[in-house]
């Protein structure tokens, strides 16, 4: 999957607990994204990053935070997981032309998160 590794692949947690998902890339791409995928909603953008320490919110960012301290790693944190955050989470990366992402996203294999 284009040098993208997501961990863990599966996670079961309880409501109210913190959860961190990790995305690691070996492509040295500037842009990294976190999406969630739910039946009937397609993929929805949570947060994205356009460089180290540079992040921005997507359309469904409430309840999530992200950090990017190195080019290769993009972390997604659920500070206090809720059942509505049960979903499949995908990380994606893209090249950039100047400061603009190319839009051609390469996705990881996903993390299945279940919040009980």
């Amino acid at each position: 999957d284009a040098g993208i590794t997501q961990s863990p692949r599966h996670k079961v947690t309880e409501t109210g607990t913190p959860v961190t998902l990790r995305c690691h890339q070996t492509e040295n791409h500037r842009y990294m994204y976190w999406y969630r995928q739910d039946p009937g909603h397609g993929l929805r953008l949570i947060h994205y990053s356009y460089g180290v320490k540079d992040t921005d919110k997507g359309e469904v960012s409430d309840g999530y935070s992200v950090s990017r301290s190195k080019t290769e790693d993009f972390l997604l944190t659920l500070e206090s997981a809720t059942s509505s955050q049960t979903s499949v989470y995908f990380c994606a990366i893209s090249e950039s032309i100047g400061w603009q992402g190319t839009g051609k996203l390469f996705f990881g294999s996903g993390t299945q998160l279940s919040v009980l």
Partner: protein, 112 residues
């Protein structure tokens, strides 16, 4: 917010026939559109893209058509094969240019 929709959630075609998957978008400012294919248990995979200054773009067995007047996008797959069975998503870049909005997907089933 953005609205990217698909006309049909499922599509079944005979092997060897051509497939057409449609997508409507709402943001007239979008200038970049992409089709992705997602196989079961995997992440979406880039198929083909098109910019708003084009009406048509062809790849290997796939063609994307863009009608900006009615804000409609379609993906045509020629000689559909069993390996084409998957969920297909269209995506647009919306107002920001860096945020990509996905449709809900069309599930394509190829009947041998």
């Amino acid at each position: 917010g953005e609205s990217v929709g698909l006309h049909l959630p499922t599509l079944s075609v005979q092997e060897g026939d051509n497939s057409i998957i449609n997508c409507a978008y709402s943001n007239s400012a979008s200038d970049y559109f992409i089709w992705y294919k997602q196989e079961s248990g995997k992440g979406p995979q880039f198929i083909i893209d098109i910019r708003s200054n084009m009406d048509k773009r062809q790849g290997q067995r796939v063609t994307v058509l863009l009608n900006k007047t009615v804000k409609h996008l379609s993906l045509q797959i020629a000689a559909t094969q069993p390996g084409d069975s998957a969920v297909y998503f269209c995506a647009e870049n919306g107002l920001s240019g860096n945020q990509f909005y996905f449709g809900t997907g069309t599930s394509l089933t190829v009947i041998p």
